[in-house]
Symmetry: C2
Subunit: 209 residues, 2 copies
DNA sequence: ATTTATATACCTAACATTAGGTATATGAAA
DNA sequence: TTTCATATACCTAATGTTAGGTATATAAAT
């Protein structure tokens, strides 16, 4: 059984490179290509349905994140494998939140790309091993533990106060605890969610709570 | 024409104080009182409809913010005037966002309370003059100037990066500008929106952009 | 032609967060 | 009963934000 793939990237040169790498595989078939997300959606609407969409994140007209969100909603059987120049945590997390099943950087080699495709095809997640460590942390915490049991009462309470813009010192006074305690809770929240910054926590909370 | 008022506060003593102040006015009629937001909603459901709800922010069972949100949605003709011990910016902004038409602190005097009630009754906003200055800033910017003209291109760009969790230094490198420039833009954003903290900006951006 | 808005850059002090620890007490689960 | 989860508290160094300024250049508006 061959794996059907659509490639989406705004750099034609890169599409060609991927094609030449994958064309040598008996079990992988590139059934179409596109230069932005909208073109992929058009292909899907015309009944050109792949097993995996291999897509760049940043593209004109419609980017990979929007594409992935739409695909996850309307074609939930299709798997999206993100492919990007960038390995910044925020990009990876956004793609995963949009519903991507894996994330590889553009400097991966031939064998790793094959592995990624086959792994995702089997229903597992795949990540380039050169992605920052905190992504793996985030992924494990975020996906293997049910969200509502993730944070303790106290941690949720503190997260809510962080979202409201309270500082550690204000929270300490309000809850009649030491500032050190608040900061310990913060660190535990960071660890559990795999999110290190205050702004990231607000993002998380407004989307998930 | 008398102005009908419901007072909501979990401190009975305070309700009594307000009542004794307002009972001397010919044109103000306290038609009911409540000790939390839920009690107010029950009164409304039973057809006891005031012109103005004078409510505390922090109350057990249902707080003033939740009450105001429900009233704004289901009884949009009623005006909510917030009454609080606290004059923290975040409280005021939350009440205003919930739909309150004014905000007075509990240390106002008799004549100011009258003025507040009459001003709100006429359809204007009212704020205690002892509220922090940045609230007036926030209010003016937020309500009198159309949102889409408020921030310049550059400022919007930087706000978006802040939401994504980028630091000043990261943004400086990415945009090939000095960190000082980024910080200047930040300060201008703070001034224009009347929001001073990073977390507040993320809140604002996710709700308004 | 002068003012205003935008964008840029610099400086410093105060405050806040983040990351790296360690440590103790309590109650619930294995 | 020992381990695990939760909640508490302390310490320090590095990094980042916020608030107070000043200052320059350019383009648009009055």
């Amino acid at each position: 059984m061959t794996i059907k793939i659509i490639i989406a990237d705004d750099h034609q040169l890169f599409i060609d490179g991927i094609k030449s790498i994958l064309s040598k595989s008996f079990d992988i078939d590139i059934i179409a290509e596109a230069n932005n997300g909208l073109e992929v959606l058009k292909l899907l609407k015309h009944g050109i349905l792949p097993d995996i969409i291999l897509t760049d994140i940043r593209m004109p007209i419609m980017d990979g994140i929007s594409l992935t969100k739409t695909v996850s909603k309307d074609y939930s059987k299709l798997k999206v494998l993100a492919l990007s120049m960038f390995d910044q945590t925020i990009d990876v997390i956004e793609m995963l939140e949009a519903g991507a099943k894996g994330y590889v950087t553009k400097n991966i080699d031939k064998s790793e790309l094959h592995l990624a495709i086959h792994t995702v095809m089997k229903g597992h997640y795949f990540f380039s091993k050169n992605l920052p460590k905190d992504i793996q942390d985030w992924f494990h915490k975020e996906n293997l533990i049910p969200n509502d049991q993730l944070l303790t009462k106290r941690e949720t309470e503190i997260l809510e106060l962080i979202v409201k813009g309270r500082t550690s010192l204000q929270m300490a006074k309000h809850l009649k605890l030491s500032k050190y305690t608040i900061d310990t809770h913060r660190k535990n929240i960071h660890k559990k969610l795999g999110i290190k910054s205050n702004t990231g926590l607000v993002n998380y909370a407004l989307k998930n709570l």
